[in-house]
């Protein structure tokens, strides 16, 4: 029972955050608002727990009590502020359609829960990396980072701590058990589906909004969700960031708030995995180009500043972690200049990586992935915001390609053990943006002030 308040309290933090960033006006739908609040809230309690433990707080009910007190204090301060949602659509999908959509979403959640039950400690990466790091945060009686840097390189002590911090936070509430990581993976699957359906629905594609959770949670995604690794939380933060940016750019409404909120989610992405660091840098760089080319002047500077300000909690947590645990990344520390240069210009290596990308993309999406690629080539109705998103996704893919190119590890081993997880990170954003691109936000079935 103690897990129930542990699940609910982050939504209060998220509610306060989204209201602070985006105000009370014109939120697209209750479902999307709730999901965004959950995603932002879980990011914020991860920062809180990391700060609590780093400043000497104990891993006990004291944290749960302090977190609850803070949450309800914030709720009291915000008691008179409630979001205003767009008027209900004039035309809703039929009852069988909605029934099927909810049935589909629930069956996927059940599937992830069943798969998670079959793997109580998750896959090797889950227990050897993420749960292990969580145990340091939870079990250490002194300073949690003492000796942490001496962990074996295979356990990747350089990885950021959003997921371990969340798991350890659950343990502070309810005691150490495999249930908390399992709960985190079910919540992540729900967040991905909620964000996907919410953004697509906000773009005016109501029927597509019923489909998109199934498209996003293709079976390999469900398997990765049940594996309890950090790639799916990262995927959720990437989707939240790109969804907010693209809808704000398309609608030209509440852009300041959306930029700040997306900055916060991008900061959470950076706090989740090293690839999230790259995502934050790529997104900020893309925004510099987009804002100063299309808007320019003070407005562009202001929005960029809001994005960066939103990302400050993530950047601060990451900076503190790097100071406490000064460990290099295995890809960087094991590389040598001469070998790296020769690998970059090795044509066979490039072909091997490219071939692996194509075959994994085909295998990963069970064929659906190529249909979604085709969607990108059909003339869109809402291209502006999604153009920014697709450039960010393509640069991320190029970054993954470059990482394999310079990797000091055996290339076949490296591709075989990580490429599918990298595709899990970008797949939800790629699929959702393709559907948003063909939404009909201004048609008769959509509310004109949507988002």
């Amino acid at each position: 029972m103690i897990l129930l308040p542990a699940v609910v309290v982050p939504f209060i933090f998220g509610h306060v955050l989204i209201l602070t960033f985006m105000g009370t006006d014109r939120h697209p739908s209750k479902g999307l608002y709730l999901t965004l609040a959950g995603v932002a809230g879980y990011g914020s309690v991860s920062f809180l727990y990391f700060a609590w433990r780093s400043f000497g707080g104990t891993a006990s009910w004291h944290y749960a009590a302090a977190e609850t007190l803070l949450a309800f204090s914030l709720l009291f301060l915000y008691r008179k502020r409630f979001p205003e949602f767009c008027s209900p659509a004039k035309a809703k999908p039929s009852s069988p359609m909605r029934f099927a959509a909810w049935g589909g979403a629930i069956s996927i959640i059940l599937s992830v829960a069943l798969l998670a039950a079959a793997l109580p400690h998750g896959t090797l990466d889950a227990w050897a990396i993420w749960n292990l790091h969580a145990r340091f945060l939870h079990r250490a009686t002194g300073l949690w980072w003492e000796g942490y840097a001496e962990l074996h390189p295979l356990t990747h002590p350089d990885y950021p701590l959003l997921l371990p911090s969340l798991i350890a936070r659950f343990w502070a509430w309810s005691g150490e058990s495999p249930v908390a990581p399992g709960l985190a993976c079910v919540l992540t699957a729900g967040a991905l589906m909620g964000l996907a359906a919410g953004f697509v629905q906000a773009a005016g594609s109501r029927l597509a909004a019923c489909f998109i959770p199934l498209v996003v949670m293709v079976p390999p995604m469900s398997m990765q969700a049940a594996a309890r690794i950090a790639d799916l939380p990262l995927a959720a933060y990437m989707l939240g960031t790109l969804g907010l940016l693209s809808t704000a750019i398309s609608t030209r409404e509440n852009q300041n708030g959306a930029f700040a909120a997306s900055g916060f989610l991008a900061g959470c992405a950076a706090w989740t995995k090293n690839e999230g660091n790259m995502f934050l840098v790529v997104t900020a760089s893309a925004l510099v180009i987009f804002l100063f080319r299309d808007i320019g002047g003070k407005r562009a500077f202001r929005r960029l500043a809001l994005f960066v300000a939103g990302a400050v909690p993530g950047i601060a947590a990451l900076a503190a972690f790097r100071l406490l645990v000064p460990v290099g990344n295995d890809l960087v520390s094991a590389a040598t200049n001469a070998r790296t240069v020769s690998q970059i210009f090795d044509l066979d290596r490039q072909i091997q990586i490219f071939s692996a990308f194509i075959s994994e993309w085909t295998r990963f999406g069970w064929g659906i992935s190529w249909i979604v690629v085709l969607l990108w080539f059909i003339r869109p109705s809402e291209p502006r915001g999604t153009n920014l998103a697709i450039w960010i996704i393509l640069v991320m893919l190029a970054g993954y390609f470059a990482a394999y190119l310079v990797s000091p590890h055996d290339l076949s081993w490296h591709l075989g053990t990580s490429l599918s997880r990298l595709f899990c990170q970008i797949w939800p954003s790629f699929a959702v943006m393709a559907f948003i691109r063909h939404g009909r936000r201004t048609d008769s079935t959509a509310s004109p002030d949507m988002l």
Binding site: M97, G104, I108, L114, L124, G147, L151, L154, C210, L375
Partner: protein, 148 residues
């Protein structure tokens, strides 16, 4: 895809096809998951819990003796490396997972050494057996005197 957006006039055929597809995919997804769970239950029939929990239980009695230490050596057939046999590597990582926040260091260069399934492995002279797993499953803890 722009025409995928719902309109009341298009409701019967397209919506029914869509609903049927969603239901079919969801059903398949559930069947697949039940299959995985059933497989796990069949496998776990031969042992009381999953292999990771079993291994954790095997090392649990060592935790009290290891509490004063920040790190421990680790001896077993094979050393953790990328080319090591996966079983050995998994055993090393499992030990680290089970005994965290203790740092496990491969080899014998430590004050205390955990020995798992390594009967006859070379240990530093003067090392003393200070604990043995109560289940007697070839798990030992040896202490190396400061000045052997």
């Amino acid at each position: 895809m722009a025409r995928l957006a719902y309109s009341p006039n298009q409701q019967p055929v397209r919506a029914r096809i869509a609903a049927s597809l969603i239901a079919a995919v969801s059903f398949l997804s559930l069947i697949y998951s039940f299959g995985s769970l059933r497989q796990t239950i069949i496998i776990s029939d031969s042992s009381p819990a999953d292999s990771i929990s079993v291994f954790e239980n095997r090392l649990r009695p060592l935790q009290a003796d290891l509490a004063p230490f920040q790190s421990a050596g680790f001896v077993e057939p094979g050393r953790p490396s990328r080319t090591a046999d996966p079983t050995d590597l998994a055993r090393f990582l499992l030990s680290q997972y089970a005994l965290a926040p203790l740092i496990i260091v491969p080899g014998t260069d430590a004050t205390v050494i955990i020995e798992i399934g390594a009967d006859g492995a070379p240990l530093p002279p003067g090392s003393v057996l200070i604990a043995e797993n109560r289940f007697g499953d070839r798990v030992y803890l040896r202490e190396v005197p400061a000045n052997p």
